[in-house]
């Protein structure tokens, strides 16, 4: 039996050694899993919050039967969607049809990799940073990945072989391309002020004053473009029920249908996080004694409530008005703001 214990000892040594050698790799993988799981588990909570709040806004109760305060409702909905029959019409392109919802959810989760959500701290002698990756062009990475998210809608519209889906896909991609410009240009004035593309540096630059006080116009433009970018009301043209049935996801059923909404909700969280980081000072709490991560989360939840508030307040904008608004109002304002910011920065 000696050789067994010897072998086990050697194996144990090897495991300990390789673990000790690869601590950054292990920390990185754990962070990746934690972030992905956390982002996905926010979705049911957000669905519940939206339905309850919408109910209150419209002077009704909202879902309140499943569990305390209707908290079990998202769970019940998920079970229902999972057991629903998956229908794919014969004329659809099978591969692309399955690919589309995966692309939407994948890009939504990946975009969160560079979002920092708290100041770094030290534990067990390891410096833990509360972000997946701090690449030197963090904000560009978010824009690049959200640009990839458009393909989910385009592919869904194309592969369904349905006029409504095609029109929905076309509209949503046109809308996202148009408002991405405003989003990028209004973020550019913040980049000008900080002189860095890294989101961590941007938060550090706001330690005394949040950028919303210095750049109120950029904040407004960024937030409007952000609402449009996530395809939320009042900019939810892609799914205008009266004209397009349900837009690009008309033909989807069951869990694949739910995945599009998962993507939308995750994008909402990412957009709120971005607004918090760029304009509300990230995890800086300005004298209020709370943990950095609590300060960050509180701001994000507040912005999410604003998203829901907007949805229950404004009627949907007509499609041509939406495009005119984006190109003829928001974009010139962005350029003007950029010009002024640049001039002040140079002087």
């Amino acid at each position: 039996m000696d050789w067994i214990t010897e072998f086990l000892d050697e194996l144990w040594d090897f495991i300990v050694q390789s673990l000790a050698d690869n601590i950054p790799l292990i920390v990185g993988s754990v962070k990746a899993v934690v972030i992905a799981v956390a982002v996905m588990s926010v979705v049911p909570f957000l669905v519940w919050l939206e339905r309850r709040l919408m109910g209150r806004f419209q002077v009704r109760l909202g879902p309140n039967r499943v569990g305390p305060f209707g908290f079990g409702q998202p769970m019940a909905d998920t079970i229902k969607l999972l057991f629903k029959e998956s229908i794919i019409q014969t004329s659809a392109d099978k591969f692309l049809f399955h690919l589309a919802p995966a692309v939407v959810v994948f890009t939504a989760i990946v975009a969160f990799a560079v979002i920092p959500f708290g100041a770094p701290f030290e534990i067990f002698g390891q410096n833990i940073e509360l972000w997946g990756a701090n690449i030197n062009s963090g904000i560009l990475f978010v824009f690049a990945i959200s640009g990839m998210g458009i393909y989910g809608m385009v592919i869904a519209g194309l592969s369904s072989n349905n006029k409504y889906s095609l029109m929905g896909g076309l509209r949503s991609s046109a809308q996202m391309i148009s408002y991405e410009l405003t989003l990028g240009l209004s973020a550019l004035s913040i980049i000008l002020l900080t002189g860095s593309l890294s989101l961590v540096d941007m938060v550090k630059a706001q330690e005394t004053v949040p950028f919303i006080l210095i750049q109120p116009l950029a904040f407004l433009l960024f937030f409007i473009a952000g609402v449009a970018e996530t395809n939320r009301a009042p900019f939810d043209l892609p799914e205008a029920e009266q004209e397009l049935v349900a837009g690009f996801h008309t033909e989807y059923t069951g869990m694949k249908f739910a995945m599009f909404f998962m993507g939308e909700y995750i994008n909402m969280v990412t957009m709120s996080a971005l607004v918090t980081l760029l304009f509300l000072g990230g995890w800086n709490s300005y004298g209020i004694p709370v943990w950095p991560i609590v300060s960050f989360a509180a701001k994000v939840v507040f912005l999410l409530c604003v998203f829901i508030w907007l949805r229950s307040t404004f009627p949907r904008i007509r499609y041509d008005r939406l495009m005119t608004f984006g190109w003829k109002v928001l974009l010139p304002l962005c350029l003007l703001n950029l010009l002024i910011t640049g001039t002040i920065k140079v002087m």
Partner: protein, 169 residues
């Protein structure tokens, strides 16, 4: 370790590039092209050029390919896939011109590869591939090509508007 990541990405890129030209449906070709652009971005990341990689994704895989998809959607090429897509008109002059360009680029690539000293790779400075470095070289060493390219793009944009205008009015 780097080669372990490089070879799968490079292989995938070549396979997808073949997929672009061999695919019978325009949608499939476009999807393969998007995949290849993303693979190229991966290779840029391996070369420590993160900024260029992100730009590759935003401009090529994002903006340009979305417009390709738009054209495919609007013209609805799906039905015409089998017949028209394969047998399109071949213009002899364009064929000669593009071949000459392709041969020129290939010659340059092979030339540079053979001239390179592979045994003693140069050390990269810390600032390599950052936004500041790329911007600096763009506006000092390469300012003329940069301006020429932007003029060309402007001309193309005006041309597109002029071509589309009579149909809009």
């Amino acid at each position: 370790m780097e080669l372990l990541i490089f070879y799968p990405i490079a292989g995938l890129c070549v396979a997808l590039a073949l997929g672009v030209i061999l695919n019978t449906s325009p949608v499939g070709s476009a999807m393969c092209l998007i995949g290849m652009m993303l693979g190229l971005a991966g290779i840029f990341v391996l070369q420590q050029a993160h900024f260029i990689a992100v730009l590759q994704v935003i401009i090529y895989a994002g903006a340009i390919m979305v417009l390709f998809m738009f054209v495919i959607m609007l013209l609805n090429l799906k039905q015409a896939a089998s017949a028209d897509w394969v047998s399109r008109d071949k213009n002899l002059y364009i064929t000669i011109l593009t071949s000459a360009l392709a041969i020129g680029i290939l010659y340059k690539i092979v030339d540079v590869t053979f001239m390179a000293d592979l045994d003693s790779p140069a050390e990269l400075p810390d600032t390599f591939g950052t936004v500041a470095t790329v911007g600096e070289s763009l506006f000092t060493d390469f300012v003329l090509p940069f301006e020429v390219a932007s003029l060309l793009l402007l001309a193309a944009m005006i041309g597109a508007v002029v071509l589309a205008k009579p149909k809009l009015d």
